[in-house]
Amino acid sequence: MTVEGSPDTKQTGRGRGRTAGEPGRQDWASWPHYDAAGSGFRGYWYPVTWSSHITGKPLPFTICGEKITLIRDGGTAYALHNRCPHRGVPLSEGDQQFPGTVSCPYHGWTFDLPTGKLSAVITDGPGCRLTGKVGVRTYPVEERLGMVWVYIPIADEEPHSIDSQLPEELVGNGFVMGGRVEPRGGNWRFACENGFDEGHAKYLHRTALWRLFKPMPTWNITRIVPKGRWIFRVQDEVHWEADYPGVGHWSNKRWWKMQPPKETFNIGNTGKADKINPTIEAQEFPGFASLSMPGVLRIAYPKFIHYEFYVPVDDDNHRYVGVMVNFTEGWKTLGFYAKYLGAVRWLFHGQFSGQDAWMVDVTDAPPEKLYRPDVSLTSWRNLSEEEYGKKLAAVGAPETPRSTRDKKA
């Protein structure tokens, strides 16, 4: 999955990114698009916050390094570049003086929400010559899954349909969902890699309260299987205990935990299910964990699916959007409400996910020395490299825009 046309791709194969005398990989030059995407892949829809958070009072957000303000007017959410062209004051500090507009708090420069054009300058009277001639950038906005999504363009291209980017099973099916939207420290790529990381959950999450009564495996034999726009982790072998030469025996089995299953399974991570929800079963997922661009993780359990959307903020921060989906309708959703609000949001989207947040915040790579289970990481980097190369070609954009390597130089 090399990308042609870039000088960086002349050097190919296993030797790239390695320096004589230094162990492991010294940089991510093997994946130039991925390496350059420190502040995110542009050309995608990103969930920003819950829809109910966006009201007539503008709020500031940073997505893919872009400072935007979100505001709602007449029931519709709008996204504008969060900088008044007059003196650079954030429009999110302002308010609405007229319907369909937002006004800068400093001198009353007033911008039309749908177009971003300057529609009046309160302190320059009705005849201001700048009206209609200057403006701020606007961004496409959609609302899905109870959240506001913003499209961050590569250039000035029209956005693709948001439904073509959402996990397929979330378009058209009825379901109930609970979720957490949270600003977190650490680069979005570390968060994404952590989510799909084959080796981490068994060890890092062995102490999570969410897993108090279920053992985690000790080690697996896993391969990566592509299907459509997703890559799947497929477990060929699951080992619940092992003897490590020279150090001893290790297992997460405990007397108070359920006995691990004897068979290998690929829906759920702690046991083979007797019954799988028909909507989940109909997806025919080859594996338990899957990942797609621009950083969407899907973990399929027998009765629910957990998703994580890793939203790039800047080089050092991201937004975690964790969503648990249960494909039930009617009165059965009440049980999910109780389970999610009473337990899942504290245990799974709280303490369990907090262990991931801790690791993402302290990860510092490259350099890195990868090991066998990290095929999950390199497969994701290969996928993103290939997909983003295609996307840039489709919009006619130059290769590797805003390279972090250029910035470092």
């Binding site: 819950w50 109910s52 958070h53 009201t55 899954l145 109870g146 979330l170 058209g172 099916n173 009825g174 379901f175 109930v176 969902m177 609970g178 979720g179 957490r180 939207v181 949270e182 309708e329 009617g330 959703t333 999910f336 409400y337 999610y340 609000l341 949001r345 989207h349």
Partner: protein, 40 residues
């Protein structure tokens, strides 16, 4: 005494009637976790 108790009850009722929707609105605008029914 009865009058005072009635007045107090009315005041308490009014306070609850005003504060509950405000609290609900406040939570909806600030909470990090939410639950939604989708496509149903």
């Amino acid at each position: 005494m009865t009058m005072g108790r009635t007045l107090l009850t009315l005041l308490a009722g009014a306070a609850i009637a005003v504060s509950l929707p405000l609290a609900r609105k406040r939570i909806a605008r600030t909470t990090m976790t939410q639950v939604h029914r989708i496509n149903q």
